[in-house]
């Protein structure tokens, strides 16, 4: 035994699993470290740079509708895989896995609820479910929502987040564009307002149908919104695309949307807009039916 032995230091072993995981996150945009709870409380908006993270349909509904007032419609509707579509795996399996992963039955949640005290019909798309693509279920649920709104004289709000029509249901997906747009035509005839909220991303068949038909169109900042995807356009024209191409600000500049609104202000904006349009409606004795009413009026004049 030597006189001078090696000193024994006490060691504290820190096991990796003792450190709480996922409480902090580096912002994808500004690289700042942000607290996850803070991010969630801030509607998935970076508190440092206002970068918008995707918001799930459930959280979106909670951000717009008074607690306890949301009544979901057609909650259990699922796709029936009418084409028995098969790519790398069958559509039916792909769908089952997505349902398990997301806890959603398809890419839209629809229902009625109250914004402050105003009753509304609301549809919220969820990009997590197969890229928010529109197949028969999305088309049918949105059409039923609009028809329900017509029946109950409710305004309609749809928050879009979608890559477009769902390839796995081919032309049936395509036909949902005509179906939903036709339903909005009937809503218009009843003079009920439709507010379309566009979030990142809204492209393809969704943009080329109901999402572009809002009486008032609101977009979140910097959202990708367009018909053709940027890559397809680049391949076609073989040139660099302009800066900010197909972003909300670009669409506002080109007169394609009414306003860009920060996520936290969307509820207030919708409430103001609906109240603005609907408050006159309550007071007028009859609820006019737009084009038809005008035609009758002109006809009556002609008779006199």
């Amino acid at each position: 035994m030597s006189l001078f032995g090696r000193p024994k230091y006490s060691k504290i072993l820190i096991k990796k699993k003792d450190i709480p995981q996922g409480l902090w996150e580096k912002c994808k945009s500004c690289q700042e470290i942000i607290h996850k709870t803070q991010l969630e409380e801030n509607l998935m908006t970076c508190p440092k740079c206002n970068f918008l993270y995707p918001l799930s349909s459930a959280k979106r509904i909670a951000s717009l509708i008074e607690e306890g007032t949301f009544v979901e419609l057609d909650k259990t509707m699922r796709s029936a895989d009418p084409l028995e579509f098969l790519d790398s795996k069958p559509y039916s399996i792909r769908q089952e896995q997505t349902i398990k992963k997301t806890g959603l039955n398809d890419a839209v949640i629809t229902g009625t609820g109250k914004i402050n005290s105003l009753p509304v019909a609301l549809g919220v798309m969820d990009f997590d479910f197969m890229g928010g693509s529109m197949g028969s279920v999305v088309g049918e649920k949105i059409t039923r929502l609009i028809e329900h709104a017509i029946e109950k004289s409710l305004p309609v709000i749809i928050v879009s987040a979608s890559g477009g029509a769902r390839m796995q249901e081919s032309t049936l997906s395509l036909m949902q564009m005509a179906k939903t747009s036709a339903a909005l035509g009937r809503l218009r005839m009843k003079n009920l307002p439709f507010i379309s909220v566009l979030t990142n991303p809204t492209t393809g068949g969704t943009t080329a149908s109901f999402a572009s038909l809002g009486d008032v169109i609101i977009a979140e900042p910097k959202a990708l919104i367009g018909f053709a995807g940027p890559r397809v356009i680049q391949q076609t024209i073989k040139q660099e695309l302009p800066d900010g191409f197909q972003r909300s600000e670009f669409l506002l500049d080109h007169g394609l949307i009414d306003m860009i609104v920060e996520r936290k202000d969307i509820k207030e904006t919708i409430h103001f807009t609906l109240d603005f349009f609907m408050s006159g409606k309550k007071k007028s004795s009859d609820n006019g039916n737009g084009k038809g009413e005008l035609r009758e009026l002109v006809g009556a004049h002609a008779l006199v």
């Binding site: 029936a80 579509f85 028969s136 997906s173 395509l174 564009m177 179906k179 367009g226 018909f227 356009i233």
Partner: protein, 333 residues
């Protein structure tokens, strides 16, 4: 009724023989018959029995080839460079066509043609995608891919027809709406969306006919009909098979697999309810006998126009709504 020699001049001048790989057995047999005929004339030998048996063989071979086409082969026929286009049909089966131009907002789009016409003595408004026959015209017509102005011109003219109670015929033949910077800047998506909504409210009958390529939203943008027909070898799809293959199979070369999966042929679409009827084509495709094709199309249009006799405006609007309303298949647990 059917006017001969009135086809687009380009159609006849460029009538080169363009054969597909799957047509090889047919063209080989046709070649043999031709050789044999020439030989018998030249040598003065009667070979009529041999020729006759070969001709019989040719008929059965044609049936064999053309009745067993894969969806991908049908798409090749739908894209055949000699296939008749909208203006060819207008010139052959309609009288007094006067083209109307422009969207009154920004531009004239030659990828969609529209105008007043008379068919069988009846006034109609006709609107259709237009492809080009040669390089110059193809570029001019943007390969039948409209800009927003094309859709806005189309709906302007449809609403004009509505005011004067004139039925509308649309011919669909496009790979899709044009994917360009200008098209996006001027609201390609909005122009299609508005057409879907506005067409659903038209109080006159709309008959939409897919004559070649039914390319997604670009096709549907003039396709919200009370009746939707498709030519035998035409196709209608949510995405091109090449595009679908590139996304789902990560390989654009797998287009034939995608074409099978997308269920885009007339028979498939009839089963799904996306189309209401199929207009027969001459054996091997419309380009093989354009006059016969024009006759078939003329007959189909007249039959459809007749079916709206006595229908009220309300019935016309509501039946169109119901037609699209029932499309789609869902499970409700």
């Amino acid at each position: 009724m059917l006017k001969k020699n009135k086809r687009n001049a380009n159609q006849t001048t460029s009538k080169a023989l363009i054969g597909f790989e799957f047509e090889k057995p047919v063209s080989e047999l046709e070649g043999k018959i031709r050789e044999l005929k020439e030989f018998s004339v030249k040598e003065g030998i009667d070979m009529s029995s041999e020729i006759k048996s070969l001709e019989e063989k040719l008929v059965s071979k044609k049936c064999d080839v053309y009745n067993n086409l894969t969806p991908w082969q049908r798409i090749q026929i739908a894209r055949h460079p000699n296939r008749p286009y909208t203006l060819d049909y207008i010139n052959m089966i309609m009288d007094d066509f006067r083209e109307l131009h422009g969207d009154r907002r920004f531009a004239e789009d030659p990828a969609i043609v529209a105008g007043m016409a008379v068919i069988d003595g009846r006034r109609i408004m006709v609107i259709g995608h237009q492809k080009g026959r040669d390089v110059k015209e193809r570029t001019f017509r943007r390969f039948g891919m409209p800009n927003p102005e094309g859709y806005r011109k189309a709906i302007r003219i449809m609403k004009l027809a509505e005011r004067f109670n004139i039925p509308i015929i649309t011919f669909i033949d496009t790979p899709g709406a044009f994917p360009g910077v200008g098209a996006e800047e001027r609201g390609q998506a909005e122009s299609i969306a508005s057409n879907l909504e506005e067409m659903s409210l038209l109080t006159v009958p709309v008959i939409a006919i897919v004559i070649g390529e039914g390319g997604s939203g670009g096709a549907l943008g003039i396709g919200v009909g009370n009746r939707v027909l498709i030519l035998e070898y035409a196709y209608y799809s949510v995405i091109s098979p090449e595009g679908c293959a590139a996304i789902l199979w990560k390989d654009g070369g797998k287009a034939s697999l995608a074409a099978d999966a997308l269920k885009l042929t007339g028979n498939d679409l009839l089963k799904l309810g996306v189309v209401d009827d199929i207009v027969p084509e001459p054996m091997g495709g419309a380009h093989n006998d354009v006059e016969q094709m024009a006759l078939n199309l003329h007959k189909a249009i007249i039959k459809e126009l007749d079916s709206f006799e006595g229908m009220s405006k309300e019935e016309i609007v509501n039946s169109r709504y119901d037609r699209f309303r029932k499309l789609g298949v869902v499970n409700e647990v």
